[in-house]
């Protein structure tokens, strides 16, 4: 039976919730590992039972950056697709099939890490070698996510066949763009894991081409961050306007921004490899230029969001240069949490431009500044928006209501998060500028003066990290309440409509062949020659090193 208010069947609810349970369990365990790291690095805690710092660091990265994000996003996107274009029983079966493969892969990788056989961090750079089941589990997560991709593609395809000549619903269009981005990007990591890491870790081949494996990893690693960000943008563009009582500023600009993200988030991986030997600096610079292109859709988004806010505020009768800000529902956590997330994106995006700035990267590369940067992007902008989505999505799926009490608690959660993250990320940024490295356990580096300077910032990180962990406990409590304890009722699934003043959406925006074609052409342009170079001028390969991580 389809619920009249949410537009989802109980089977849809079950499918999406299955993803959410994995996401929130990962949030709790991954967050706990983060707290432990900051305590170890402050010099105040030694881990018991022979647990290693790099083991909890690996768990933190894998659970939060890979598992939490992927499960939340795929679950959320199924909710959006099922709501806007519907899901057949057959498609639901394939969605569940993908889910179980991802879960099986996650479990396989998690067990390998817990046994201490994979302290290679979530970037698993060769030639450090984890036990083969670490890579096999990750490959299964990717393969499971591809099944979700093709299920989403099929959902829109079936809808389009029934609605000839109509433009696809905005959110379905956005989901398909994000899944296209994910599919094209994961081809790189699948190639390195299936063709390089698995045979090498099983001993079927003796050596690995390190630079090639890193290049394939970063071909995937940067679009990965846009795969996290775009679902947040979906909520900003097409859901938040409804929550604040407004309309979508422009359907066509929203679609254009997503197309630009698809084109310019992939051929840019070298900006993660700027300080590496063996890559011609000309190609690094070309990819830096391509990287900067994503600033355009980011600016488009910023404009659209604030235009929506202003138009809505003025419609409610608030005037003055900034008076319309009062017209926004600051006491509604469904708006407040993502709004704070958006504000975090201003320093986060600025930091990102610095990181990608070719030779300027040398100042901050692999310092804890970088860690501070992505705790602002994925750890604040994205996650606060995901929390903002959860406040209505979870009760809508479980047939309960977001109570006033939980709404207030959510606002407190957002404030706690903001305070904790400002302290933690702020001190990471400063310590990074002073040279403190990322991904390193507590060390006095032989007692140098510089290293002693870093330690006070590491204590500040532990303070921020502890506050953030309180935020995680609050969020898990809110989640449990919305799943099992909140009063029964119907929570609205907010879908915004396009403003009557917006221009009609031109059909060329849905010319998939054109956009995919340009995306592939850009990738081939940015990568063909350097990759051929990397293969042709490869030094002798590297044997596996697995004793260094024990």
């Amino acid at each position: 039976m389809i619920s009249a208010k949410t537009g989802l069947t109980k089977y849809d609810n079950k499918l999406v919730m299955a993803h959410m349970y994995v996401a929130f369990i990962s949030l709790f365990i991954g967050g706990l590992m983060g707290l432990l790291q900051t305590l170890v690095r402050s010099g105040t805690l030694t881990l018991p039972f022979g647990i290693g710092y790099y083991q909890i660091l690996t768990i933190h990265g894998v659970l939060l950056a890979l598992v939490l994000t992927t499960f939340f996003i795929i679950g959320f996107q199924f909710a959006l697709m099922n709501k806007t274009v519907g899901m057949t029983d057959k498609q639901r079966e394939s969605a569940w099939f993908g889910y179980w493969i991802m879960l099986f892969g996650t479990t396989t990788t998690a067990i390998t890490i817990l046994l201490g056989k994979a302290n290679v961090l979530y970037t698993f750079y060769a030639p450090l070698k984890a036990f083969p089941t670490f890579y096999i589990g990750l490959a299964l997560v990717v393969i499971g996510s591809w099944i979700a991709c093709f299920t989403n593609f099929r959902q829109l395809y079936v809808w389009k066949k029934k609605h000839k000549g109509e433009k696809s619903p905005l959110l379905a269009f956005m989901v398909v763009i994000n899944m296209l981005l994910w599919f094209i990007a994961t081809l790189g990591v699948a190639a390195t894991v299936l063709l390089q890491f698995i045979p090498w870790s099983l001993g079927m081949v003796d050596t690995i081409n390190v630079l090639l494996s890193r290049t394939l990893f970063w071909y995937f690693g940067h679009p990965l961050v846009y795969f996290w960000l775009l679902p947040a943008y979906m909520a900003w563009y097409a859901i938040i306007p409804k929550i604040i009582g407004g309309k979508i500023f422009s359907d066509s600009l929203a679609r254009l921004a997503f197309i630009l993200f698809l084109m310019f988030s992939i051929p840019v991986g070298f900006h993660h490899q700027l300080t590496e030997p063996g890559i011609d600096p000309m190609w690094k610079f070309i990819q830096v230029v391509l990287t900067f292109m994503v600033i355009i859709p980011s600016l488009l988004t910023a404009f659209s969001m604030f235009a929506t806010f202003e138009v809505t505020g003025r419609k409610k009768g608030y005037t003055g240069l900034f008076g319309w800000l009062k017209g926004l529902p600051w006491k509604d956590v469904r708006f407040f949490a993502p709004m704070i997330g958006m504000l975090f994106f201003i320093p986060a995006g600025t930091g990102g431009i610095i990181n990608a700035s070719n030779q300027m990267n040398q100042v901050i590369h692999n310092t804890i500044w970088v860690t501070g940067h992505f705790h602002l992007t994925v750890g604040s902008t994205v996650i606060l928006t995901f929390f903002g989505i959860s406040y209505w999505l979870i009760p809508a799926l479980t047939g309960r209501k977001l109570t006033a009490k939980i709404n207030t608690l959510g606002i407190i959660q957002t404030i706690v998060w903001t305070v904790g993250m400002t302290i933690m990320s702020g001190s990471m940024h400063i310590a990074g500028l002073l040279g403190a490295p990322r991904r390193s356990s507590y060390s006095t580096y032989g007692g140098t003066e510089q290293a002693s300077e870093w330690i006070s910032y590491q204590i500040a990180q532990a303070v921020g990290g502890s506050i953030l962990f309180i935020g995680i406990i609050l969020m898990v409590y809110i989640f449990i309440n919305m799943v099992w304890f909140a009063p029964k009722g119907v929570e609205e699934f907010p879908l915004a409509e396009v403003s009557e003043h917006a221009e009609p959406t031109p059909m060329f925006l849905e010319n998939w062949k054109l956009w995919i074609g340009i995306t592939i052409a850009l990738i081939l342009f940015a990568y063909t020659i350097p990759v051929i170079d990397i293969i042709q001028h490869a030094p002798p390969g590297s044997p596996p090193f697995d004793t260094l991580i024990q």
């Binding site: 790099y54 300080t275 830096v288 300027m360 040398q362 032989g446 030094p539 090193f545």
Partner: protein
């Protein structure tokens, strides 16, 4: 497709600053020659001593001109090898006069390492099979910590040395 007038202004401003940023980076890279470290030479990681720069006698600090020095280092988990001093013990601190031009060349015999002279722009990845190299002028006196900033195993945070830049 229609763009709002303010949006046009906003985008023109955005794209113009983007072009400005890229021009600055481009001038720095191609006119002033400040490229990120991208040395293309390769080496056999199992046999780095075969390369002239990494023979025992060439490791550590070498003066090659009046204000010119070369520092050759072999990185391996969890150590930077600067060669031996006169007493036969491993060098952990090198001293360079302020204002010298120094060429750092580094390679690794095992996994990927980092090479960051904290507080300076001497920051590069060190990868098996490749030689990383970077030339710089050390302009400010002080003691700098050399840290491995790429995870290389359980002892990664112990991998360090110091570089002392002194007033001559």
């Amino acid at each position: 497709m229609h763009l709002h007038k303010y949006e046009k202004i906003w985008l023109i401003f955005g794209v113009a600053s983007l072009i400005l940023f890229l021009t600055v980076l481009g001038i720095g890279a191609f006119y002033k020659g400040m490229q990120p470290p991208s040395h293309l030479a390769t080496i056999d990681p199992q046999n780095v001593e075969a390369h002239e720069a990494f023979r025992d006698e060439n490791l550590g600090l070498r003066q090659v001109g009046e204000d010119k020095y070369i520092v050759s280092v072999i990185a391996s988990a969890f150590n930077y090898d600067f060669g031996l001093d006169e007493e036969g013990s491993a060098v952990k601190n090198i001293r360079i006069p302020e204002g010298s031009t120094v060429l750092f060349q580094v390679t690794t015999t095992d996994v990927v390492h980092g090479f960051h002279l904290a507080g300076t722009n001497v920051n590069m990845m060190v990868e098996p099979g490749h030689i990383s190299s970077l030339e710089t002028v050390l302009k400010t006196a002080g003691t700098y910590t050399l840290v491995c900033n790429e995870y290389c195993g359980t002892g990664h945070h112990y991998m360090a040395a110091t570089v002392e830049v002194y007033k001559p």
